[in-house]
């Protein structure tokens, strides 16, 4: 099918139709309805992305009278150990209140108390920013708007390569995940919103799709940009959660902000009224696990309130998980374990370097959501940076003429796909992915040291070389998985190189080095940037100073 190429043009091409991409597409049409917006979506946009349904809160909202953008920046400085540029975070947080108004107008449900005020909870070290939002149809409502605003959505298409011309991104090549057909869209501006790398470390269950974050995210956005010359940052921030054992479904914010107690395996209650992931992970790693959440002391009305949120909004399937294990919150505690390790620009710090206009370091390329590094933006960040990226991209698209060319790149990619189709190795791509992610788990995650990270680089070299030799295709659906696994390997190579470069420990459990156990602000209070050299594994490293700003009063 690769000889059949679907070609189209756009003013703005959005790669990834999750929360950020869907918002960006809608926003671009609101900014200028005359612009042609095309979305490539690997799954089905109605539910795709990390938020398949809804979310219990917009984690970051500067509610007037409750919290300020300045407080948020202060919180970001603390959670990032200072490695954060102010401008993107500030640009994000200052628009969050408007975001709530917009989403409310779109029919998204934000409950208000008897006093008429929104519920705003504290989940950050400073300030209350988590505004309760109870809408299990959030993604459906957003996706419907993508269509009603006239965006063209091409579902089941994985963005596989950015088209680059004279150092500028001019669209992308996509692959239909079911048929292997190529879709080529030339675009004046391109917006990457393809998530982070959720399929990165191996979940303890061994189930490849049992990751904490949406497993459709395989680092595609990172690698596409990296191959187009963009700078990645924060890849040494190897993130883990501490959530429901085995099933890896989050609940911490919901239950701890509503009175649940956090207890370690030795019975020590270390509740703080707000989640402290770092402490949980440290205690687990020190052998003081398993951490467990106690709700049995809560009044029945509060337990029910928690159940109603947990069992209806973000991952309602957890109700049957607890039932299956015989866990009744009124009697039994909820056991928490560390999740698989993942890379994420919206929760953590791994992402494309972007400024406050969501511009990447390559002209014509914008990024939003978990693909972009806007530390702790969460869902609010996905939406607002999506809006900002759309505004910037449309401004850029209107300033330039339509691109041409790119045929040579398309032909080369088609040849690569043909080579993949012809692979006859004995190892299935799933089995190969399992081994890749096991090696990532063995070598890329803390505690880190130079030798271990060197082994990570060695293994990524080895696996990269082995992929075309040992893997054989079993069906067309394996084709895009091979591209995904290439991306996972690439992400791991960048992660290992960046982790090796940062010769200090920082961010608690996320970059703990046993050979450099101390935080070293004198030398490392800065970003590490990664750019591609000769190939994915040839990581060119540089640093960038932290950028602070004067926050308006």
């Amino acid at each position: 099918m690769t000889n059949s190429i679907y070609r189209l043009d756009a003013d703005l091409l959005v790669l990834g139709g999750g929360s950020a991409g869907a918002m960006a597409a809608v926003w671009a049409k609101i900014v200028d309805p005359s612009q042609k917006v095309v979305v490539f979506e690997k799954g089905e946009i109605k539910y795709s992305g990390s938020i398949a349904r809804g979310m219990d809160a917009l984690n970051i909202v500067a509610v007037p009278g409750v919290s300020t953008p300045a407080e948020y920046l202060e919180a970001c400085h603390l959670t990032s150990d200072g490695v954060v540029d102010d401008a993107p975070s500030y640009a994000m947080v200052t628009r969050t209140w408007d975001l709530v108004q917009t989403l409310s107008e779109w029919g998204v449900y934000f409950p208000r108390g008897n006093d008429g005020n929104y519920e705003v909870l504290q989940v950050h070290p400073k300030g209350r920013f988590a505004l309760t939002m109870l809408d299990p149809d959030l993604k459906v409502k957003l996706a419907q708007r993508v269509y009603t605003h006239g965006c063209k959505v091409i579902n089941r298409v994985m963005a596989a390569e950015l088209l680059v011309e004279d150092g500028r991104v001019v669209g992308a090549i996509g692959v239909n995940v079911r048929t292997g057909e190529l879709v080529v869209c030339r675009a004046k501006a391109t917006l990457l919103s393809a998530g982070g790398a959720a399929r990165f470390g191996l979940p303890a269950s061994g189930y490849l799709y049992g990751s904490f974050d949406y497993p459709g995210n395989s680092g595609d956005g990172y690698m596409l940009a990296y191959r187009a010359g963009a700078a990645l940052t924060g890849f040494e921030y190897t993130q883990r959660g501490c959530i429901i054992k085995d099933v890896n479904i989050p609940l911490i914010y919901i239950v701890t902000t509503r009175g649940a107690e956090v207890i370690d395996g030795l019975g020590d209650n270390f509740s703080e009224g707000k989640p402290n992931l770092e402490k949980m992970l440290r205690r687990h790693d020190e052998g003081r696990g398993p951490i467990h959440l106690k709700l049995s002391h809560l009044p029945e009305s509060r337990v029910r309130e928690i159940e109603e949120i947990l069992f209806s909004v973000e991952r309602p399937v957890q109700e049957r998980f607890h039932q299956g294990r015989g866990v009744n919150f009124r009697r039994e505690d909820i056991e928490l374990w560390p999740t698989d390790t993942y890379l994420c620009g919206g929760h953590g710090m791994a992402g494309l370097l972007v400024n406050d206009k969501a511009e990447t370091t390559v002209p014509g390329l914008y990024a939003a959501g978990d693909t972009a590094c806007v530390h702790r933006g969460h869902l609010s960040g996905a939406f607002v940076i999506g809006q900002i990226a759309a505004e910037s991209a449309i401004r850029y698209a209107k300033s330039i003429s339509a691109p041409g060319g790119g045929d040579g790149q398309v032909k080369a990619f088609a040849r690569k796909l043909e080579r993949f189709r012809d692979l006859r190795g004995r190892v299935g791509i799933d089995e190969f992915e399992y081994k890749t992610r096991r090696m990532i788990t063995d070598y890329c995650i803390p505690p880190k040291n130079d030798y271990k990270l060197g082994q990570a680089q060695l293994w990524m070299q080895r696996l990269s070389g082995q992929l075309p030799e040992v893997v054989g295709l079993r069906g067309l659906q394996d084709l895009f998985k091979m591209l995904e696994v290439e991306n996972i390997i690439g992400c791991a190579a960048v992660c290992a190189a960046a982790s090796r470069e940062r010769k200090e420990s920082r961010w608690g459990p996320y970059h703990r080095r046993t050979d450099y156990p101390q935080r070293d602000d004198a030398n490392w209070l800065k970003h590490i940037l990664c750019r591609r050299g000769e190939n994915d594994l040839d990581v060119q490293l540089s640093t960038k100073p932290i950028e602070r700003m004067e926050v308006p009063a």
């Binding site: 539910y47 349904r53 048929t179 269950s205 459709g216 054989g472």
Partner: protein
Amino acid sequence: MNPPTLSYLQALSDNIIVDAQKCTFCGICAEVCILDNIRVQLAPCRQACPLHTNCQGYVQLIARGDDQKAMKVLAEGLPFPGIVGRVCSHPCEDACSRREVDGQAVAIRDLKRYLADNVGLPPVAIAAERPEKVAIVGGGPAGAMAAYQLRKEGFRVTLYDANQRTGGMLASGVPEFRLPARVLDEEMSILARLGVALRLGVRIGADLPLADLLEQNDAVLLATGAHLSKRLSMSGEDLAGVHDGLGFLRAAKNGTTPALGRTVVVIGGGNTAVDAAQTAHRLGAAQVSIVCLESRQQMPAFAWEVEDALEEGIALRNGWGPAQFLQKASRVSGLLLRRCASVLDKDGRFAPSYDEADREQIEADTVIVAIGQEADLSYLGGAAPVSGGRLAADPLTLQCYGLTKVFAAGDALTGPKTVVEALASGKEAAESIRRYLVGDSLTYGRSYLGPYETEFPVDKSKAVARPRMQPRKVGGATRRTFAELQQGVLEGEARAEAGRCLSCGEAFGKFRTCWYCLPCEIECPEDALRVEIPYLLR
């Protein structure tokens, strides 16, 4: 590619649990799965249907006693169930797994008619109105289906037909006793109700130049069928008392048939020949026979229609071909037949050879020549490409070669085929026209059947042999009238017959890439699907 052995993930247990007693095999679960985990095993009946009608779904719903929902499932892909329930060649039944249990397929076509006779069509939603204009030339199954599909998409559709009724060959050629006019007209009336502009009695070329249509419309579909009877090209073919099959059937429907005399001979082994013979029988001929080159088994006519003809006393003379028309004065009086030694050549092409020494003479007051049909494309005037007497178009997109906004469908493109094939052709053409008008790729994804599995084992171990329902037919003197020959199916019969369905195939989690995010479960219209936590995580 390597053989499709189970992958590392596929060896895990499936956590997608489907209640086969509730599932209607609609495939929505597969369509909404964000990780593309789910596939639907496509039942053999559905695979065999050129329209991929969800036979399994509506038959199972009849078995469950939910006729309303069954009709909803049926009508999703088929707006003309009463027509198709009567005249379909039912390839679904040829593929039915039940045949391997007791040799008799489920009477899928009759169950379709049961629904059409007893349940009204559900309302049809039309998308937002669009400005683009489409002209469809020909109101037969292909043109009507295309008009229906395009109108549903909101396009401005005008349907032209030379006849005063829509239906094409269904209106002019299929006899009343097989497809009553009231059924055809009622089902075709959906076009006008949806807002298709009907220009009936307008012959493109003669009454309205094709060039005008091309100029005034954004797209044009040519679906003019195959309405010319092939000729034997033998001396005597123009004698009084010799008729062509289609002309004869048309005249019979119009009540303008000339006197047939006592003995009628029909030449040909296809459905038109059988229709003509049964029509002659109803018009009062004392003795009707069918002469054809083929053996009984080789006859292209549907076997069940040949059975009907035999029940009516129509004689078959298989393995004979005409050598000469006999005449008295200027009128036909009989035929000299010659024995056919073989019909096809070694390559399977039609190339009859004869044993000229073996001849026989038969009497005939009327001879009807029904040896096949071909398209009359004289109206084109060179405006569209023709090859081998048919419209020439890309086989995938049905876009006429060398043209952009002209498409072809139905018998004018493929040569004479079945009604369901013409409907499918019209549907494909409509999809191409939609894509063309909205600026989409005409080819992208067209070769992909959908998220389906076509090869899978069917469990027949618990199936018990049960005889197929026998359709009730009118008999006696009524067989000399044009009253509908086959009677409708009673509710009890329908439930019992639907109960014979093995319900082959179901939805399942194929790739084991489930993230238990639940859209498949939420979107299932029947609450038939439940997502379990995968065993490794449970």
